[in-house]
Point group: C2
Chain length 313, copies 2
Amino acid sequence: MPEPKSIILDWGTSSLRAALVSETGETLDTRDTTSGGIQFVKDGAFEAALMETVGAWFDAHGAIPVLASGMITSRNGWIEVPYVDAPAGLAELAAGTRQITLANGAIVTFLPGMRDPAAQPFPDVMRGEETQIVGFGLDKNRTLVLPGTHSKWARVENGRIAGFQTYATGEIFALLTKHSFIAKASEPAPGSEPRWEAFDRGAGFAASDARAADAFLSAVFSARTGVLAGVLAPDDIGDYVSGLVIGSEFRQARAAGWLKPGEAIGIVGNNVLNSRYSRVAPLFDLDIEPGPTDAAKGGVQLIAGQLQLTNEG
Amino acid sequence: MPEPKSIILDWGTSSLRAALVSETGETLDTRDTTSGGIQFVKDGAFEAALMETVGAWFDAHGAIPVLASGMITSRNGWIEVPYVDAPAGLAELAAGTRQITLANGAIVTFLPGMRDPAAQPFPDVMRGEETQIVGFGLDKNRTLVLPGTHSKWARVENGRIAGFQTYATGEIFALLTKHSFIAKASEPAPGSEPRWEAFDRGAGFAASDARAADAFLSAVFSARTGVLAGVLAPDDIGDYVSGLVIGSEFRQARAAGWLKPGEAIGIVGNNVLNSRYSRVAPLFDLDIEPGPTDAAKGGVQLIAGQLQLTNEG
């Protein structure tokens, strides 16, 4: 077995996920616990929560360095790490880290989130996605999308993240399908395939020439009129709305200047949503650039490597 | 007191509202009951529910005619009245009514809803708003907006309703402020004034030149980034989101071709939302045409009058 060299934490509100990795980035072991989630840690006892989860790794391999990202770096976390302003690359992100030393001597490095002060109407923020973007690659100019509850569209230019914009697509999807009158959807059976025909119908309308597709507040009502018209079956609603909101995200990102027909975009992460985004991209005449499957881990290691270079330099 | 000549019903899912009116449209008496709401009427006992609410009026004034609109004309109501297709004016709406005779000999006329078969991506529908539009006036070509949970934008041309489009603005507002992570808002204190500065900030962004304002899925995230940036107080969120979604409805209606800067629009109804829509209209360079305060009642009477003319003709 390669020698363990560091511990990487994805430490969020509801869970703590830890990976023991080798120098070359190979994952040697993992721990995944909900009891370590920030909301369950009392009285700031984060070090105890960390030791409970990964103490055995320290015992076996010594006080190896820990690299932490996620909401653990927010106001409600262990220490609040200020956002680094766009544009920012490896150097700026590494300079924005904060470190503490544990009782056993191990150093924990907390990675910063990013802020785009040029975003309208207010500065936009992200925490974690910037690390995935770094792991995807800052080597060439390109546009990236990171699907999620709060999707990000980001632009990489000259080796730095030049700017980004959040789209609350996943959250709007959940609100519509769980709580609305117009698009409440049944839960799909576990393991069932998406109803791609319904998905494509929604995405296809969002990508169409119809002027009504620019009216998102109206387009969402089509989940209801589609059923009334007998075109959508009740079981179609969830995937129809999924296609409609993801397609609308692309349409709106185009209007806001994030994409141009004929370009290639990177779809970052290995989220289950990525297959849906990959299906929509060609409707907007976009090619898809392949990327690494674990961009987050790669990004953490690149930022940590940069930090080491800086400290040694 | 003028002589009672008819009973007008606004009969919906959750309530039954009845007005006793004179020949000239004066309201002489009203009844408002939730127990008559369609969802509370068992086994189709609509006639009994009606008699319980307005039986005393029949006793006092004879078997005067009844004019009913609302969800009572839908599949879950008393009788389902088919939608009348746009374009449609008084003649088409009157021809689309359905009548039944009560045990006491009174005739109940059910008014139809309307369907726009040209709407994208599916035919759009409304039930009740067409009657308000008739009451507002079909005498000149103009664009009308009817604020609500499911707002309608409609175009009157050549004495008929030429077409319309639904915007689910009120429902999206409720979802965002009640159920979302990004814009959950506190309930305003009863009787408190709207926070107009926050409302204007949201509406102002929606009306601005910023390309990001074309990205509704992103704009809604600004309720969160505005708080993070220290620009919005937690108590501002509800009115900020209200301004943002109503402003976005205007912006999207402009993109979809319903309004042009420099025109006048009518804002139909006496909904509490109307003051908010009136505040947004000038941001889009629109004048506001005054209209009657009770367009619904006026519309019912015009359609009933047309029906009488037709039957006599």
